[in-house]
């Protein structure tokens, strides 16, 4: 049974301002504490992953490994941001098409560059394509009223086909060397894309989603759609913009990825989606909307990256690694739902 229609009244107030005051029990206070509310099981999983990583691949956290990890983590982290933005707005928001969007943008960029266009213009056009594909998702979801889940399954397919058509089914490898700096260069041992793309994107999104009116509105929309409507928020337009942002972020990932590999690949990376959703949820984004912070998603990106990196250092097959990420996703969501019902149980008991 889908629980996406969960009544918002069951959701504990963020920060636990009301229930926390009345809450007498230590359990209730713990459950309402800022760390637990915002990050859920993240601290526990972080410790678990660090231990598991050290057992699987001793020395996984050496400086040189950390440097390569940040490179790898940039792409899945930004996709995690994309999922966060659409999930946080509630209403069953999710974007399953991000990997295909990234595929379309990277092959478009490669074709444009092959056609002799300036690098900066090519990148700008690719980002615009990502924006357009995100807007198309938004149109299907908010214009036609197709649930996000199915609309983006459809566009996952559609955009994947589009990428193949644009690239004529083959990898495109003739990028100018200047372009390759984005995904291969480093500054004092730190990958370029981490300093100049991931950090700025995280800061901007972190600011926008927590300190601005927009950030306040998306949280309210995710927590209580009716209240958002009553307070005059244009919920449809807000959610639409979420899909546009997700499309843009996927486009950034497409650009970074093709630069890192030195080739544009038309076949979407099918592992991206699961990883991105896992990162978002692990980072404390409430799957039913309303809650989530960029800092949490950044920490979750670190956790998942260390996890995956330890697996590959230990030479465990990628399929097994992805299976483990799948288990992690289910366990974390179960934990999230469990924490929430525990919290409302504790709140009920202490107020009774």
């Amino acid at each position: 049974m889908s629980t996406t229609q969960l009544p918002t009244s069951e959701q504990a107030p963020p920060g636990g301002a009301t229930a926390g005051h009345r809450g007498a029990g230590a359990l209730s206070r713990l459950l309402e504490s800022r760390v637990v509310v915002q990050y859920g099981l993240l601290p526990v999983v972080l410790v678990g992953v660090l231990i598991a990583g050290e057992i699987l691949a001793p020395g996984v956290l050496s400086p040189s490994n950390l440097s390569s990890m940040t490179r790898f983590g940039v792409e899945i982290g930004i996709l995690g941001f994309a999922e966060m933005v659409v999930i946080i707005m509630g209403g069953g928001g999710i974007d399953l098409s991000v990997a295909s969007t990234a595929a379309v943008t990277q092959v478009s960029l490669a074709v444009l560059l092959r056609g002799g266009i300036e690098l900066w213009l090519g990148v700008a056009i690719s980002l615009a394509i990502g924006l357009a594909l995100g807007a198309l998702n938004g149109f299907f979801i908010l214009g036609l009223g197709v649930p996000a889940l199915v609309a983006t399954i459809g566009t996952y397919f559609g955009y994947a086909g589009l990428a193949l058509v644009i690239a004529n089914g083959v990898n495109i490898a003739d990028f100018p060397s200047s372009y390759l700096t984005i995904g291969q260069g480093d500054v004092v041992g730190i990958p370029v894309e981490f300093i100049f793309i991931f950090i700025p994107v995280a800061i901007v999104l972190g600011y926008v989603t927590s300190r601005t009116k927009f950030g306040h509105e998306i949280r309210l929309t995710g927590t209580n759609e009716r209240a958002a409507l009553l307070s005059g928020i244009n919920v449809r337009r807000l959610r639409f913009s979420g899909y546009v942002i997700a499309g843009m972020l996927a486009a950034i990932v497409g650009v970074v990825e093709s630069s890192r590999f030195g080739t544009a690949q038309p076949v979407a990376d099918s592992t991206y989606l699961l990883t991105a959703v896992t990162i978002a949820v692990l980072g404390g984004v409430d799957i039913f909307g309303g809650e989530g912070t960029i800092l949490g998603v950044v920490l979750a990106t670190a956790v998942v990256t260390i996890f995956e990196y330890a697996f590959s250092l230990a030479q465990i097959n990628a399929v097994i690694e992805l299976g483990s990420v799948g288990v992690m996703l289910i366990v974390v969501v179960l934990g999230q739902v469990g924490l929430k019902s525990l919290r409302s149980y504790a709140a009920r008991r202490s107020s009774a």
Binding site: L144, V146, V150, I153, F157, G158, V319, G323, G326, L329
Partner: protein, 339 residues
């Protein structure tokens, strides 16, 4: 009162005053049938000799059967407002287990039963987490998708299984009633069975009720967890049948067996008129949807269209099928309020 008709949409025993709505349903399925016929006619007049060749025709019917069988289960899952994206990789697990069982020379029928049991087991895992964990189905099945994939990989151990007994291919592909493979007959029989179950048995009514208004159904004392377990386990079992047919069709089990199959099945269900918003959908729609999806694919092959475009068309069919469902629901809501 205005909520009542929706509970019965696509459901059992049309109430006389709802004749208009029932006609609406017939129109939609008739429309689907007309599209299939038109596709058939176009193919007849353009590439008739290759379309009507018995190889192409029975190949098409087998493909339709393989998609239809799990589309029955997917229809029920979507009626309860759920979704299952893990069935493609469940196909892989069933195929590997069956392949290994064949390699150990287990009796033929026992292997089939083991395969179906594995499918039901996989479905029960999904159903249990969804029912008791209260986790959205997309999240659960996205997770189990990769878990099933990992299991397939572990069981295969890096090699392909190729010594599938010819008997399976014989039963699935070669044995026919005229040009119609037995697999297709099995698919139609299952469609008939579950159409009956959904229209006439209490469980059918409960599934529609649970999907139409979960709150009301719960208040009315419906055990939702039972419904969840039932629909996901059923989908798992039907997926296993499709997996066995797939192995018979191409007797080779690889790590990629079943990949992306879930999308074709979801497309068949939603193109067949199952409303993604829940509470509404017919098993026979899954058959017609599968037919339409597969005939389009067959046309693409006969016209030598690049396979890249097939993905775009399939994506468009999913979005298109769902938007029609959503638009019809919206129109009916408006009409309902005018009554």
């Amino acid at each position: 009162m205005s909520n009542v008709p929706i509970a019965l949409q696509g459901g059992p025993a049309p109430v006389p005053s709802r004749v208009g709505h029932v006609l609406g349903r017939i129109e939609y399925e008739g429309y689907l049938l007309a599209m299939i016929v038109v596709m058939g006619l176009v193919l007849t007049f353009t590439v008739g000799s290759s379309f009507w060749s018995s190889t192409n025709l029975s190949g098409l019917l087998l493909d339709v059967a393989i998609v239809t069988v799990p589309a029955i289960g997917m229809t029920l899952v979507i009626v309860t407002r759920g979704i299952d994206v893990s069935i493609g990789s469940l196909v892989g697990v069933v195929a590997v287990v069956a392949g290994l069982a064949f390699e150990h020379h287990l009796p033929f029928v026992l292997v089939l039963l083991i395969g179906i049991a594995v499918g039901v087991g996989g479905g029960l895992v999904n159903g249990a987490i969804i029912a008791w964990g209260k986790v959205p189905p997309i999240i659960v099945t996205l997770g189990t998708l990769s878990v099933f994939e990992a299991i397939t990989y572990l069981l295969l151990g890096g090699v392909w299984i190729s010594n599938i007994p010819a008997k399976l291919t014989q039963v699935v592909v070669i044995d026919r009633l005229g040009p119609v493979p037995y697999s297709f007959v099995v698919a139609v029989a299952l469609v008939a069975l579950f159409s009956y179950v959904m229209a006439r048995r209490p469980i059918g009514l409960r599934i529609y009720a649970a999907g139409d208004n979960p709150e009301a159904a719960r208040t009315a004392g419906l055990a939702m967890w039972r419904i969840d377990l039932f629909v996901y386990a059923l989908l798992g079992g039907l997926t296993a049948i499709a997996a066995l047919m797939t192995v018979g069709q191409s007797p080779l089990v690889m790590p990629t067996t079943g990949q992306n199959f879930e999308l074709t099945v979801i497309a068949a269900a939603v193109v067949g008129g199952t409303n993604i918003l829940g509470g509404e959908g017919k098993v026979v729609g899954g058959l017609l949807g599968a037919f339409l999806v597969e005939i389009v694919e067959d046309a693409a092959i006969l016209y030598h269209v690049n396979s890249f475009y097939q993905q775009i068309v399939l994506g468009a069919m999913i979005v298109g099928g769902v938007s029609i469902g959503v638009a019809r629901r919206r129109r009916r809501r408006t009409e309902g309020s005018l009554e």
